[in-house]
């Protein structure tokens, strides 16, 4: 990939990341950590690509590990986040906090 374009993508994504969480209230910090943990679970896609390319035994074993770990990250991260946000539902019906 063209290096400069990649650099632009990195830069814009970094600012997006900072802006997106800037307004998150402290009470949602833990779910946010967990949610972002789930989102980098997209690494599983990369794992699938390298496993799909793998030929030698070593490559296949390591590629398998990559998919396994990535899938664990994505699914586990999702379930943990979901369970945490479930608790917020009951407080969501309460009157909204100040600000």
């Amino acid at each position: 990939m063209e290096g400069w374009i990649a650099l632009y993508i990195f830069m814009l994504a970094a600012f997006t990341g900072i802006e997106v969480i800037r307004r998150v209230p402290a009470i949602l910090h833990t779910p946010l950590m967990s949610g972002s943990n789930f989102i980098h679970g997209i690494v599983v896609v990369g794992g699938m690509v390298v496993l799909g390319m793998a030929d030698t035994t070593a490559e296949i074993v390591v590629g398998f590990i990559a998919v396994f770990l990535g899938a664990g990250n994505a699914v586990g991260g999702y379930v943990v986040t979901e369970r945490m946000l479930e608790m917020f539902k009951s407080s969501g019906t309460k009157p909204e906090k100040k600000d």
Partner: protein, 465 residues
Amino acid sequence: MMPALDFLVPAVYFAAAVMFIYGLKGMSSPVTARSGMIWAGVAMLLAVLVTFFHPKVEGNYLLMIIALVSASAVAWWWARIVAMTDMPQMIALYNGMGGGSAAAIAAVELLKLHSGQVQMVPTTLLVACFGAIIGSIAFSGSMVAYAKLQGWMRKSWRFPGQQAFNLLVFAATIGLGVWIFIDGPTPTLLLLFFMASLLAGILLTVPIGGADMPVVISLYNALTGLAVGFKGYVLEIPALMIAGIVVGAAGTVLTQLMAKAMNRSLTNVLFAGFGKADEDAAAGAASGEMRAIDATDAAIQMAYAEKVIIVPGYGLAVAQAQHKIWELTELLTSRGVKVTFAIHPVAGRMPGHMNVLLAEAGVPYDLIYDLEDINAQFPTTDVALVIGANDVVNPAARKDSSSPIFGMPILDVDRSRNCIVVKRGKGTGFSGIENLLFFEDNTRMLYGDAQKVAQALIAGIKSLG
């Protein structure tokens, strides 16, 4: 490959990147958080499905499906059964898996480069090496964090010259990376490189105390994001770059926010070491004795108080006592006692955890105060009821400059007229630091499980009529 798929695969990746950002954005309010996450989940599922048709994928489909299904089943089941109080270590575990995955991707790519099946321009190789180091550190570091939070590794392990040794390992890791960059990877070199990276992650995490773990986990979360972003560049999948870097940036900000709530800088958390003063604190501080009180007497004290502040901590979460505590609060309020709640920014093991639990029990937001808002009120408070909180009310943070938590903002419960501490046993808290509060003249210890104690207090107050 069909032309339609040529379009479909990148299109789904693009949509996934949009949904991920939307999902994180939803986190700014409890109302939208859930739907945002569900959309992100759907996007993830679709992205995984279309990857079977990715142009680079040529085989090993069965293995892919086995890995996906087995990992998903285990992760799903484990994440379901684990108790809410254990969530921080689960985040650490799953985060570590992501880091490990990124490192494994780098390993395959570098092996391919060695066998000549893949060409890399120098920039790509550099990014691949960086991603490998960061992913490995996030992996092994998170696993240590998991072990620590799970209670498998309570001691902070330290030895003389540790900093220098860590620096050496880290320098070796970088050195090996540079070697790979210049000479190209060989299997032996790669093995050494990954071993050194993994070791660096372990060494970095081992000396850090349990109380600092949420900050560390948040940091590793950001690192994994960064590693994933780098892998996206190497594999030329922009969705990975965007998702990874967004998480990396957001995680970095979050890490700083959390460190700030503990009045520490990130460098301080990582290198000063909570554990360092363990021995000194344990030896020096424990003067005087703890005085116990029974629930009946405590109930009388509170029933005839004018003002009561309840300070909940991790113990409340463990005992699931929030509903009983709210019942107690309502009972006291009906007797004309003014009851409020004080929540420390890092109460419990996850920031915001206490707010969630109290909200769940029906405690209105306007009774809950932050540290800055309530500290001035303790001197005019008759009873401060500390339930399962420990380090966040330890006056050593103000008084004892040798204490590892010295300088951390605390709730000044020791300044209230009477302080009742509900605690399961006599041991030190999670961080292993002796709590000076327990030995104060105005402190009484009320031993027992938070829920049972709350029940006893309610009974005691009711019996007063």
